[in-house]
């Protein structure tokens, strides 16, 4: 029997124990939600209109998807653009890079209620957008910006320099190299950031209550107030009248998040192979 040093087995044990703990917590929570929520998932829950008797969550579901799409369409270009600048253009130690990184790290640290305060003061009151999908998604865009920037930069930095050199040596310009070689190779990392960002959007309540409001409707336009699934769950369970439907909403929310993770993983797989069409 080959002798395994005691420190090896110890380290193996604590690593497996940590993983088991995480998996255990995961299953415990999922079990809890499913047990409390699944019995109350009824077709009426998906009726097109919300009213106080039949607390349908369809408006909230649609609003969540719209909120995610809107905030990602604001934050993704900015986040990736910033990541490209930090990873591809900026010189290592110059002051601008340190300033940007500090700003991003601070943004990541700010609690969601402070975003709610800021969103209310700036988007809702100062810009006069009132409680609206736009105010909510702009606030969320700022919240997920550091996540996208950090994972984007990490992904770009992990692309080996030999790819860049190979591309330059063929006379490709900086831009073509970044967009055709570096970014496609970094897509999986970027998508990991997008998955985390969507998780954050789907789970956010504190910031949205003060920016997007709590009206249970499918927003007719960007300036209409709307509640996402987690705000819907918060509102339902708040008064103790619809707690069960609250858990049912939680189950639906989990399915939405799982769906997004699966789609992102599939896209990562396909694009990762980076076949350039003519």
């Amino acid at each position: 029997m080959k002798r395994i040093s005691p420190s090896e087995t110890f380290m193996a044990a604590i690593t497996w124990a940590a993983a088991l703990l995480t998996a255990g917590a995961l299953l415990y929570i999922i079990g809890f939600i499913l047990w409390r929520g699944v019995p109350y998932i009824t077709p009426s829950l998906f009726a097109p209109v919300y009213n106080s008797i039949n607390v349908s969550l369809l408006p909230a579901l649609v609003s969540t998807v719209m909120m995610a799409v809107l905030s990602l369409s604001f934050a993704l270009p900015l986040g990736i653009g910033a990541a490209v600048y930090l990873a591809e253009y900026a010189r290592r130690g110059n002051r601008a890079v340190r300033l940007i990184r500090l700003a991003a790290e601070t943004l990541a640290g700010i609690p969601s209620i402070v975003y709610g305060l800021f969103g209310m003061l700036f988007f809702v009151v100062w810009l006069g957008w009132d409680f609206s999908l736009l105010a909510g998604s702009c606030t969320l865009a700022i919240m997920i910006l550091p996540l996208l920037l950090r994972s984007g930069e990490e992904a770009l930095l992990s692309v080996p320099d030999s790819y860049r050199e190979g591309s330059f040596a063929l006379g490709a310009g900086k831009l073509r190299t970044v967009f055709r070689i570096v970014l496609p190779a970094a897509i999986p990392g970027v998508l990991a950031g997008v998955v985390l960002a969507v998780g954050r959007i789907a789970g956010e309540t504190a910031a949205l209550i003060y920016t997007a409001g709590t009206v249970a409707q499918i927003p007719p336009d960007v300036f209409a107030s709307a509640r996402t699934l987690s705000v819907h769950m918060y509102a339902l369970s708040r008064e103790g009248l619809h707690t069960n439907e609250g858990y049912a909403t939680a189950v639906v929310l989990l399915l939405v998040v799982i769906g997004i993770n699966v789609i992102a993983a599939r896209i990562a797989g396909k694009i990762g192979g980076a076949h350039e069409r003519v």
Binding site: R91, P160, S162, Y163, R164, E165, G166, S167, F168, A169, L170, G171, A172, G173, R176, R180, I181, P184, A185, G272, G273, A274, H275, E276, V278
Partner: protein, 249 residues
């Protein structure tokens, strides 16, 4: 006609001077080998010829380097320079794409759009790199699946696809087994008639086997530059003689 004319070339990385007043010229349709101990500046010189040194922060160059009479540090667009002067690196670096896309990337960069033209360019360059038979039925598969020797020949094919005038090779076979090395050397001898080739190598037998001219470098200076037979049989400078006979270096 000379393909490259280098006059009083000096190069610094920050404070460290890597090249001291280099004067040489490489002629067409010939293989020029650059030899010397590691850190002597031969790779630095090679990277100056297609301005890959521009990517190194703090790199400063004086003197002139002319490609067929035009100063490459003048108003020549750097991308056009690199199109005309292809380079193959020490470690094979195919892109994480299919074999076809790897080869087609160069032509697509320089505006080739039609499917037919691309197919033809891919086939010709793979044949020119003597690897067509080994990859012709897996063009759609990822290039990362090929062996080290095949990947290097793929990189040569990729460089050839943009139809350069000069081909620079930075110790192309140092990471390869003898058989692959032999294949690449045969390939370079064939390519000699269509492209001027400048190769940096540690392997002195390789220099004698395939090069017409050889330049010996030491500590950033070019010690001697002459035909390969002269360098290896009757070196003028004692230091060249010591290096070539393997007494140091």
């Amino acid at each position: 006609m000379n393909v490259f004319d280098i006059t009083d070339l000096n190069l610094w990385y920050g404070k460290f001077q890597a090249l001291q007043n280099i004067n040489m010229s490489a002629s067409e349709a010939e293989i020029t080998a650059l030899i010397g101990p590691s850190g002597c500046g031969k790779s630095t010189l090679l990277k100056t010829l297609n301005r890959m040194n521009d990517l190194v922060p703090g790199c400063r160059v004086t003197g002139s380097v002319c490609l067929s009479g035009m100063d490459i540090y003048g108003n020549l667009n750097v991308n056009d320079l690199r199109k005309r002067v292809g380079m193959v690196f020490q470690k094979p670096n195919p892109f994480p794409m299919s074999v076809y896309d790897n080869i087609a990337f160069g032509p697509r960069t320089h505006g080739v759009k039609s499917r037919y033209a691309l197919d033809e360019a891919v086939e010709n360059s793979l044949k020119a790199a003597a690897i067509w038979d080994e990859v012709k039925d897996r063009l759609r598969k990822s290039a990362l699946g090929l062996s080290g020797g095949q990947q290097q020949r793929l990189c040569i094919a990729r460089a050839l696809a943009v139809k350069p005038e000069v081909l620079l090779l930075d110790e192309p076979t140092s990471a390869l087994d003898p058989i692959s090395t032999g294949k690449i050397e045969e390939l370079l001898l064939e390519l000699k008639n269509d492209y001027s080739i400048i190769i940096v190598t540690h392997n002195m037998q390789q220099a004698t086997r395939i090069s017409d001219q050889t330049a010996f470098f030491l500590l950033g200076e070019m010690i001697e530059y002459d035909s390969t037979e002269k360098i290896f049989s009757m070196p003028q400078d004692k230091r060249t003689e010591d290096y070539v006979t393997g007494r140091f270096g």
